[in-house]
């Protein structure tokens, strides 16, 4: 069995009316002013979920997002034929976590950005469990699309989650464990469902990646 303990579990679940502009007002005190004005909705939500976590270069980060920098993609495409350099930079996965970490001038040893869908949560957790760094920041999220959403190629909601995974049980809010075995796959929680489970401290269990997964709370 491979396990890690969850510390600093935090989610951002804004209402459907929130935009990047209104999130910028709501979360202004969490970011350097110079960084704030250029941050995307997803960057703001991830930064807020990570607020209070002081990472070091010895730490690692795992970032899960199916659609990632949706609004920057949409806006960048609208700038052609005079493509915007700023929107190009921002549109590139994992731009949203880079907005946060560059704003903090916070290097990290290893950053693992994943972009799957049906087994994204499982793959992100597996990546985090195999990471030897003493502390792994597990981050995920999406931002609501506009015209891409109309074509079902963007998230319907904006949300973000963050948890710090360590080997230290003392003071942990929860625990995630993977027990390898000859087990058939079953449905894996979606990233949004996983985020709600973190918010509600709701246990989860499922089968996949050749083993059994459990998320449990203290």
């Amino acid at each position: 069995m491979i396990e890690r303990y969850l510390h600093h579990v935090r989610v951002e679940l804004p209402g459907p009316e929130e935009t990047a502009a209104t999130a910028r007002l709501r979360l202004a005190d969490k970011f350097p002013r110079t960084a704030l004005r250029r941050m995307t909705h997803l960057g703001l939500l991830i930064g807020s979920a990570l607020d209070g976590v002081a990472l070091t270069p010895e730490d690692a980060m795992v970032f899960a997002s199916t659609f990632a920098e949706t609004r920057a993609l949409e806006d960048f495409l609208a700038t052609f034929p005079a493509a915007s350099p700023l929107l190009f930079q921002t549109s590139i996965h994992p731009g949203s976590v880079q907005q946060v970490l560059i704003g903090r001038q916070q290097p990290v040893g290893r950053l693992w950005p994943l972009a799957g869908r049906t087994r994204l949560v499982e793959q992100a957790l597996l990546t985090a469990l195999l990471e030897p760094a003493p502390r792994v920041a597990l981050v995920g999220g999406e931002e609501r699309g506009t015209w891409m959403l109309e074509h079902n190629v963007a998230s319907t909601t904006s949300f973000a989650c963050a948890a710090l995974l360590t080997r230290e049980p003392a003071g942990a809010a929860g625990r995630v464990a993977f027990s390898p075995g000859p087990i058939a796959d079953a449905a894996c929680p979606t990233l949004e469902d996983f985020t709600h489970a973190l918010a509600e401290r709701r246990p989860l269990s499922w089968l996949g990646a050749g083993g059994a997964w459990t998320l449990e709370w203290s």
Binding site: P57, P81, W112, A133
Partner: protein, 373 residues
């Protein structure tokens, strides 16, 4: 400050690539002959724009089905058979752009069929379904170091006993989306790249590229012995001026390399600041080790470059006869940033390893140690 390199050796059971110059063997041969795949072409494809250096496998404008799909199927035909995509035989797909060219095509043509392949997951799903892979397909996307992440994660899966073999598959094809983006940054301009050259203006080229590797814990003539990764988070498009990020990654892979005599396949896109920092740091960390780079011919194949260039390195090392040669820095010209830059091909004899590096936006650094019997 340094994060140690992963030292989880993995055997390379199979590896090949697709570039505009052909497969890995043909590409290595062309590089040894000093051929450039890059040619000046309109930055926005059929929509025109400035002429910029692009190395393309065909017209850049996106098609239905996507233009990259047939080439990837041809490449995949060389993958050794296995129940790929099952839990014990996972696939790791790495790219920076995936099918993003289809999003640009939609904004131009307003044909919603393009959108079906526009997101990373959807483009990989198209590939997965066509190649008959199961559902255990991990997708990594960390710009131009992505292939390194896939290879490093594969080694972790193998050493954790969670996989028998791992297929790492990487692709990135140029589109107006990405060419227009790099052009907006002014670094994709009308000049052909000259990696590591000390000149007035920097320039890069972009190229189509795809590759795969099958990694195993079993013994193999070639092994990936170590992976080092580091993320500066100093600036989106610039490195720390003190070269701290390059130094951190180089020190970590040097510790893993021990006393091996290595040559270095650098990132070497043709930018000035990053090229200088890279050449100087590796000259200090590996005194006398030749530094070569192939993006002056192939262009920067973005998220696939780490695996494409690994396949080329392997093909060169497997070359015919005893006088195996490593391609020099095609497109490079003197004076160079350091005297370690190899402008001409050099013999692989006498080396017992190679360091292969890539860099990406956000000051991301990656290096891997390739060894052979």
């Amino acid at each position: 400050m340094n994060t140690p390199a992963d030292q989880l050796p993995a055997g390379i059971e199979a590896c090949d690539c697709l570039t505009p110059l052909g497969d890995a063997t043909a590409t290595a041969d062309a590089l040894l002959a000093g051929r450039r795949a890059l040619a000046l072409a309109p930055v926005l494809g059929r929509d025109g724009g400035d002429l910029v250096p692009l190395a393309l496998t065909g017209p850049m404008d996106e098609t239905l089905p996507p233009r990259w799909l047939p080439g990837l199927h041809r490449l995949a035909a060389g993958i050794p058979p296995a129940p790929w995509g099952s839990a014990r035989f996972p696939v790791i797909v790495t790219s920076s752009n995936f099918g993003v060219g289809s999003l640009y095509a939609f904004t131009r043509d307003h044909d919603a069929q393009h959108l079906v392949h526009g997101t990373p997951y959807a483009s990989v799903e198209l590939l997965r379904a066509g190649l008959g892979w199961g559902g255990h397909v991990h997708i990594f996307s960390h710009a131009c170091v992505t292939a390194h992440l896939g290879l490093a994660h594969a080694a972790r899966l193998l050493h954790a006993g969670l996989a028998e073999r791992v297929l790492v598959f990487s692709f990135d094809f140029v589109s107006p989306f990405v060419a227009g983006g790099f052009h907006s940054l002014k670094i994709l301009n009308s000049a052909l790249p000259a990696p590591y050259a000390r000149r007035e203006t920097g320039s890069i080229g972009l190229g189509d590229g795809a590759a795969f590797a099958v990694l195993t814990r079993a013994a193999a003539p070639f092994q990936l012995r170590a992976h080092a990764l580091y993320n500066e988070m100093f600036h989106f498009t610039a490195n720390q001026p003190d070269a701290g990020g390059f130094a951190a990654c180089a020190a970590a892979i040097a510790a893993a390399a021990g006393g091996r005599r290595v040559w270095i396949k650098g990132h070497g896109t043709g930018t000035l600041d990053a090229g200088r920092l890279e050449a100087e740091v590796f000259a200090r960390q590996f005194p006398g080790a030749p530094l070569t780079g192939w993006k002056g011919s192939l262009g920067h194949t973005l998220g696939s470059c780490g695996l494409v260039e690994l396949a080329v390195a392997l093909a060169a090392l497997r070359g015919p006869g005893s006088g195996k040669k490593i391609p020099g820095t095609v497109g490079g010209v003197a004076p160079c940033f350091t005297d370690t830059v190899a402008l001409a091909p050099f013999a692989s004899a006498g080396f017992d390893g190679a360091i292969l590096t890539s860099n990406a936006f956000g000051g991301a650094h990656a290096a891997m140690l390739l060894t052979h019997d």
